[in-house]
Symmetry: C2
Subunit: 610 residues, 2 copies
C-alpha cells in the first residue's frame, strides 16, 4: 500500500502494519512514548484525503476539534489507499510564535481596565435604580460618568449586585462599560492578538495586567480549502454572496477554534478576553468582515476600507467577551494590508531616523520604505516559495525540515529542525542551499544545475548527487534511510525561488528609486516573516534576494506582524499610531511600472546585485 506523507512523498507500507509502525520503519518523526500500547495518546498525525473513522483510542485521547480536523493516533491507524498524512502538525506553533512568549510590554496601557466597587444597598430613603447606583459609585471612584453600555449589560445589573453583597467589578473601555462581574475580579484581564495569514492563523493570549504573552496557538486557515492564495480566495468569494459567507465563516471558525484551544490550555476563559487586535492582509481583513472583495483584484484596485476599524466581538461573531473591543489595523492598499502595518509596529526601528526598508515575507511579500521625507509601501508578486509552497520537497519550518545547508567538496551537512531525519526543506534551508550550491558550482549564476557530463569543477561526492528526476535535473541534498526518501532540489524548484527573489529584489530597487535615494543610502534592511529569523545576511545578499548592501545593515526579525498586533494590544498609543499609518504611507502599484519590469528581468541572477 502506498500512502502520501506531506510534503510530497509516497510511503510504502507493509501488510498488517499500523501507520505508526510504518513511520518508525521509515525513521519519520512520530512520538512513540508508550510503544504503541495506546496509553500515551502522543502519536498524533493529521489525515486528509481518506480519513479513517475515529477508533476507541482516538475518542479517548482526542478532543472534538482534533477529531474534526482529521487528527488520529498513528498507533491505531491501518494504512488505506488515498491517505495523506501530515506529521508533526501538533504543537505546530512556528518557532517564531514560541519566541513571542518571551515578549514583555515596555509600556502597558491597553485602554481597557477593571475597577472594583462596593456599592451601597437600597433602603427606604435611597431608592435609586440599580444601574444608577452603580453609575454613581463608579463616578465617585473614577471621576468619570460612564453612560454607554449594551442592553445586555444593563440587564445583568440586578443579579450581579445581589450575588456578592453589592460588591462588583466593572470592566471599562474609554466611556463604555464592557462588563459587570460580581465580586472582585480585578486580578484577571486578558487580551488576544490575532495574525490572520492566508495560510495559517495564530492567536496570542496576553495578560493585560502583566504585559506578558501567556500562550500562542496557531493552525491552518480553514479558508485554505477554498484556494491557496488571495487571488483564488477572491475568485471564490466573487462567486456569490453564499461563497463570500463561506469564507467569512471559515476564518471566523479558525479563530474561534484557536480561542477554544487557548481556553483549554490555560485557565483563561473567552469571556475574560476584553480586547483583541487583528492583523492580516487586505483580503483576509475583508473576508473576515464580510466585505466585498470584488474590487480588490481589478484595476483600479480599491478596498472597501483601509482606515482602522473597531467593532465589538459580538458584531464580529468572535467568541470572546461579547463587548470586547476588536481593533483591526488599517490597510495601506489592496495588497498591502494590516499585516504590513503590524510588521512596521512590530519592528519599530524602521520608523527611526534615516532610511529603512522592511521586507515582510510570507505567502505574499510586501515592502515598506521609510526615508527622511516619505513612507511608501508596495506588494510584489513573489509567490509563496519562501514558505515552501510550490517547491517539490518544500515545507514550513517544522520538525523534519532542513533549515540550513553547508556544502563542501566532501559533501553536505544539513541542519534539520528537531535534529532528526529530514522529510523536506523550508525557506531558510532553500535559500542557504541555493547559495551553497552556487558557491561550489553545482549551479551557476543563471541558476542552472551543472551537467555532470560536462563539468570538471565538482568533486565526485557532489557530482553523484546531480541526477535526472521526473521533471528534469535535480540535486540530492540528503539520502533518506528508506527508499525514495531523498530530499532534492530540482531545476524547477530553483527557478521558482529565482522568480520569487527576483520580484523582491526588483521591488526594492523600484521603491528605492521612486523615493529618490539609492540602495547604499539605506541604513537598514529588515526581513520579517515566519521564517526570516533563520536567514543569514550573506545568503540573502549572495543569491540577490536583496540588492548588494553592507551585510551588517541586514536584520532579520520573526513574525513582526504578530508582534505588532501584540504591541498594539498592550498599548493603545501604539494602536493609535498604527491607525494613523494608513494615511501616512503612500501605496505604490508595481503592476504597471516599466521600471519594475526592467529591474525584474535583471534580478533573476543568483549573485550580488547592485
Amino acid at each position: 500500500m502506498e500512502i502520501t506523507i506531506l510534503p510530497n512523498r509516497l510511503m510504502v507500507t507493509q501488510e498488517k502494519e499500523t501507520l505508526m509502525e510504518a513511520l518508525v520503519r521509515h525513521h519519520l518523526p512520530v512520538q512513540t512514548i508508550c510503544n504503541g500500547k495506546g496509553t500515551c495518546g502522543k502519536c498524533k498525525v493529521r489525515m486528509t484525503g481518506y480519513v479513517s473513522p475515529p477508533s476507541e483510542r482516538d475518542l479517548a485521547h482526542l478532543n472534538e476539534l482534533e477529531l474534526q480536523a482529521g487528527v488520529r493516533l498513528a498507533c491505531t491507524v491501518i494504512p488505506q489507499a488515498g491517505m495523506v498524512i501530515e506529521l508533526d502538525f501538533v504543537e505546530s506553533q512556528d518557532r517564531k510564535e514560541s519566541a513571542l512568549l518571551g515578549m514583555k510590554a515596555s509600556k502597558l496601557d491597553p485602554g481597557v481596565k477593571k475597577v472594583f466597587i462596593q456599592s451601597s444597598k437600597p433602603t427606604l430613603t435611597d431608592e435609586r435604580g440599580d444601574w444608577d447606583r452603580v453609575a454613581d459609585t463608579l463616578n465617585t471612584v473614577t471621576g468619570k460618568d460612564y453612560v454607554n453600555a449594551d442592553l445586555a449589560i444593563l440587564g445583568k445589573v440586578p443579579d450581579v449586585l445581589r450575588t456578592d453583597k453589592f460588591a462588583l467589578t466593572v470592566t471599562l473601555s474609554q466611556d463604555t462599560i464592557l462588563e459587570l462581574e460580581a465580586g472582585d475580579t480585578t486580578k484577571r484581564l486578558y487580551g488576544a492578538a490575532v495574525d490572520i495569514g492566508t495560510t495559517s492563523v495564530a492567536v496570542a493570549l496576553v495578560d493585560l495586567l502583566q504585559g506578558t504573552v501567556l500562550k500562542v496557538v496557531s493552525t491552518e486557515n480553514q479558508q485554505t480549502a477554498y484556494g491557496a492564495d488571495v487571488i483564488s480566495r477572491i475568485a471564490f468569494a466573487n462567486d456569490g454572496h453564499e461563497s463570500a459567507l463561506t469564507l467569512q465563516r471559515a476564518v471566523r471558525r479558525t479563530i474561534n477554534h484557536l480561542l477554544e484551544e487557548l481556553a483549554v490550555k490555560t485557565d483563561v476563559t473567552g469571556n475574560e478576553i476584553f480586547k483583541m487586535t487583528i492583523v492580516g492582509n487586505t483580503t483576509m481583513h475583508h473576508l473576515l468582515l464580510g466585505l466585498d472583495v470584488s474590487h480588490l483584484a481589478v484595476s483600479p484596485f480599491v478596498s472597501v476600507c483601509n482606515r482602522p476599524l473597531e467593532f465589538s466581538a459580538l458584531e464580529m461573531g468572535l467568541e470572546i467577551n461579547p463587548q470586547a473591543r476588536v481593533s483591526l489595523l488599517p490597510n495601506i492598499g489592496s495588497f498591502v494590508g494590516g499585516d504590513t502595518v503590524g510588521a512596521i509596529v512590530g519592528a519599530p526601528e524602521v520608523l527611526g531616523p534615516g532610511n529603512h526598508l522592511l521586507i515582510d515575507l510570507g505567502t505574499n511579500c510586501e515592502l515598506f520604505l521609510k526615508t527622511e521625507t516619505m513612507m511608501m509601501a508596495c506588494s510584489t508578486a513573489a509567490g509563496p516559495a519562501f514558505e515552501g509552497a510550490g517547491i517539490t520537497h518544500g515545507m514550513r519550518a517544522k520538525q523534519g525540515a532542513i533549515e540550513g545547508v553547508t556544502l563542501t567538496e566532501n559533501g553536505i551537512d544539513c541542519q534539520v529542525i528537531g535534529g532528526q531525519e529530514p522529510i523536506g526543506i523550508c525557506g531558510s534551508g532553500l535559500i542557504e542551499g541555493i547559495d551553497e550550491m552556487r558557491k561550489v558550482g553545482v549551479i551557476n549564476k543563471q541558476g542552472k544545475i551543472a551537467d555532470p557530463e560536462k563539468t570538471q569543477e565538482l568533486s565526485p561526492e557532489l557530482l553523484k548527487r546531480i541526477r535526472m528526476g521526473e521533471k528534469g535535473r535535480e540535486f540530492v541534498l540528503t539520502y533518506g534511510t528508506a527508499q525514495g526518501w531523498n530530499v532534492t532540489l530540482s531545476q524547477k524548484d530553483i527557478g521558482e525561488m529565482q522568480l520569487a527573489k527576483g520580484a523582491v529584489c526588483a521591488g526594492i530597487k523600484t521603491l528605492v528609486e521612486m523615493a529618490g535615494i539609492t540602495v547604499p543610502e539605506l541604513d537598514s534592511v529588515t526581513l520579517s516573516g515566519t521564517f526570516a529569523t533563520y536567514l543569514k545576511a550573506h545568503n540573502i545578499l549572495n543569491i540577490g534576494l536583496v540588492p548588494d548592501i553592507a551585510p551588517e545593515k541586514i536584520k532579520t526579525v520573526g513574525n513582526a506582524a504578530h508582534v505588532g498586533a501584540i504591541r498594539t494590544l498592550l498599548d493603545q498609543h501604539e494602536l493609535t499610531m498604527a491607525g494613523e499609518l494608513y494615511r501616512k504611507i503612500s501605496h505604490v502599484e508595481l503592476g504597471g511600472s516599466a521600471t519594475f519590469s526592467n529591474y525584474f528581468m535583471n534580478s533573476m541572477y543568483l549573485e550580488r546585485l547592485s
Copy 2:
C-alpha cells in the same frame, strides 16, 4: 343566541341574522355603507373570545394584521356563542392623538441629519478605499471626522457608491454614520414618538425636516392579555424568564405592528425612521427592555435603571432603521416613569416660575409638584377608573361613549361621542355625571344613591331612574332603544370613582404639605392624560378630585406624555433636558406615609375639599 358587546353588554341575536343586522337592529355603531353587500369593507368589528374563521370577504378587504387581531366584517359574521365583539376599534385613535396632528415644532433640532455627497471615483492614481473615500468627502463637507459605523453599514458602501455614480446620502447622528443611501434622499427624514401605556400604545410618525406630526396610530398593548395593570404584569413577569420574555415580545410586537400600520397608511417606510423617543411608566420601560421587574414592587422599591437610555433599534428589536437611535426618557422611581417625565416636557408651563402641580391621569396616576425650591413626584393608587375600567358600563373615550352629562329635574341630557346611541360611559362622562347627580340630589356627598322610597327632593323623572340592579342600587343615565341597553351608574361604580379621586386628592395634599406650601399657593394645576382634555374645572373641584382652588388655575391638556415624546424627538435639547430631570426630581413614596393615609380618609367626599 347571546353574544357580548363591549363594554359589558349581552346582545340577543335572532336566528339567521348576521352580526351586522343584529347591530343595526340594536342601533349600535357600525358602518353600513354598502348595506351588507360586502363591497365597501367598512363594517369592521373586532372579535375576541370565539373568533370566526375569516370569510372570503374578510380576506378580500382586510390585511394580515387585521385578520390576526380578530378583525372581521360584520356583514359576514354569523353570531356564535362565546363571541365578544368590540365596536369602533377601527380608527380607534383617541381624540387626543388626533390633536397631536396639529403639533408643529417651535424649535427643530432632532440630532439626526442627512448629508448629500458626491464622491470622486477611483482611478489608477487615487486608489483610496471606498469607505475612506466617503469619509474623506464627508469630512470636507461637514468639517468633521465620522469614525463610527456599524459593520453592516460598512458592508454596503461598495454597492451604494456604484448605484448612482458615486452620489450618496449619509445619515448622521453625532459622530456616528447611521445609514448610506444611493442618490439624494435628503428630503426624507422621519422619526417616531412612542407612548407605551399599560392599556394602549400610540405611535406618532413625525417629519423631522418639517417638524410636523404626519400620522398617529394607537392600539391595545398586547401585554393586556397577561394582566390589566402594572402589578399583575410584574407578577406575571416574575413567574420566570420565559414569562418576562413573553411580555417583552408582546409590547415589542405591539409597537412593530403600529409601525407597520404607519408604513401602510403613509409613504414612509420603517427604514426611513432614524430616531425614536419612548415614554412609558417604569414597568413598561423595564418590560420593553427585558429588565428584571422583581424589585419594582417590593420595598425598598428599586428599578434597574432610572437614568435616560439610548440604544440602536437593532438592539431593541424595533423595526425601524436598524441603526436608528432609540431614546427612552428617564424614570423618576419605580412607579413614576418616563411617561411622567414626558408629561412634564409636554406641558412645560409646569416648569415655569411659581408653584405648579401636574396630575397625569391614566391607568395609573402620577403627581408632579414644582415649587420655587424643589421638584417632587409620586404615584397614587388611583386605579384605572378614570379610563373606564372597573366601572360597569365604563369604556374609553371612543364612539358611543357618554362624555358629558347634564341633569335637570326634567331629565338628563347626555353628550355621546359620534352623536349616536350610547353604549357606555368614559372618564369625563363619569366625573361630570357624578357631579351632576350630586348637584340635583341623586347622590349625597358620601356618594350614596338616594333611596327613592325616602327622598322627597327628586322630580318624578329622576326618581324613576333610580332602581335596584344586580349589584345594588343604580341610576339609569340613558335608556337604550333595545332591551338591556341602558347605561347605568351603580353604587359600586360611584364608590370606585370616590376611591380613585380620593387617592389623587390625598396625594396632592400630601405632596403640597411635604413641599412646605399650601394649596392656595399653587399657581396652576394641570391635568393631563388621555381623557383630561374633556374635563371641566368645576366638575373636578365639585367632586373633590383636586382640593379647592380657583377654577381658573385648573388647566387640562391632552396626552402630555406623548406630546413630550414628540417634543424630545424634534429637539435634542429637550431630550437632554428631559434626561436630566431624573436627578432633579425627588421621588416620594406615599405608601408608608401616615399623612397620606389621613388625608385619604377625608378625601372620599363628593364636595369641594379644602
